[in-house]
Amino acid sequence: MKYIYYPGCSLEGTAAEYSISTLALFEALGIELIELDDWTCCGATAAEGVSHLLSFALPARNLAMAEKMKAKSDILVPCSACYLNLKRVEQEIKDDHSLLRKINQVLAVDDLVLKGTVKTRHLLDVLVTDVAPDDIASKIVRSLDGFRIAAYYGCQCLRPYAVFDDPEEPRSMEPLITATGASVYPWDMGGRCCGASLMSTAPEAGIELVAALLEDARDADAIVTVCPMCQMNLEAYQKKASKQHHTRYEVPVLYLPQLLGLAMGLNDEKVRLDLNLCVPGSFRKKLAGTLQPA
């Protein structure tokens, strides 16, 4: 099995541990990830705030690059915002030929053509559909028994295109969590918005969404997520949310490949928990206690 890998900009910077742990996880699973040649930004949610056509042309450039590659495989995308932007082009050009024509007019300045032959897949989709949780369970060497893990999906891997999960009540991460020996923390916030870029453009609104999620995850040992934006919002603003709500929120927010990697026995260099902004001592202690190689 192999995939064309589109890391996206966040994974080169603030979400470096997401990329490092994803690459390590797939290596351990024996699946090849080939980085997309000369990839560029997907436009995130900024492009559509400025230009409708660019919000399609920017992700389309990456799809066109993938079509040119020798490796004929799906594109694997870990970031939910990148995933949605690429997926949106893939879906919308199927019926909207005038849109495809305009996109190709823009791409022509870079000598690129979009045909629409490559499929975009979210990391979570690949893990539950192609790899299968049973496969992962068979590779677990250190059980995370005793950990309660809150599965957090966020928005853009679920909506508006319901590809691999229920867009209102997502559950696809659960068999992956139980495969590690951990239990699924019961909550119904998995598909709720984290506030996305409102944390920068309207922080007074964004912080309330963050606080609601942290409040409901209070008794979880960790929140696990598959989106760098969600991860940053939930992790970086815990103090601010705590202050506003006169309480103390302190919960690690891990990327799914970090959790799976830990259970599969990958060492610190491969999952890079040291890059996370919030890993409380209590979490590290529990990890040290239960993570004895079986």
Partner: protein, 190 residues
Amino acid sequence: MEAAADIQTTASERSLVNKLAPARTLLLACIQCGTCSGSCPNADAMDMSPRYLWRLLLTDNAQEIFKSRTFALCSTCYTCTLRCPRGLQLTDAMSLLKQVAASENLPLYKRSVRFYRSFMESVRRHGRVREMEFMTLYFMSMKNPVIPLKFTPLGMRLMARRKVSVEIPSKGTQKLDAMFRKAKEIEEQS
């Protein structure tokens, strides 16, 4: 007499109404049920509900729409789009309103418009967004020293982990400049 003055619209208002047409088209089948408002995680922070905003859009009330920050508070979670019983692309309509606010440079939305623009500027220059450059461009455009100060603690934590480093904005290779220009040219024609 007063009523007559109300009805009279200026040329700039008419041009705004024209720019609203693509968003209005998405809303034509709206039945004003309010499922969007009930589903929106940011409704509490909005000065008018999404349902009310759609009503204003359907009645071409550009003046009232652009007094409201409601669409700027859309965090593109797509919950309203998913639940709309008429299957309308409501999140896309919110984005179209954001685009009008950006192209008109309306001061009320300067924070989000400048945020998006700074992001796109870094992408245009380098092909990929450089997170620190983008934030620096954003702070410079806001000309308000309090905003960067609020981000300083987070910036320091990220720098301590070498996830970002201080970055002076640079011209870069203008990697995507040609594409940006072409897109602008096509959009201005249509």
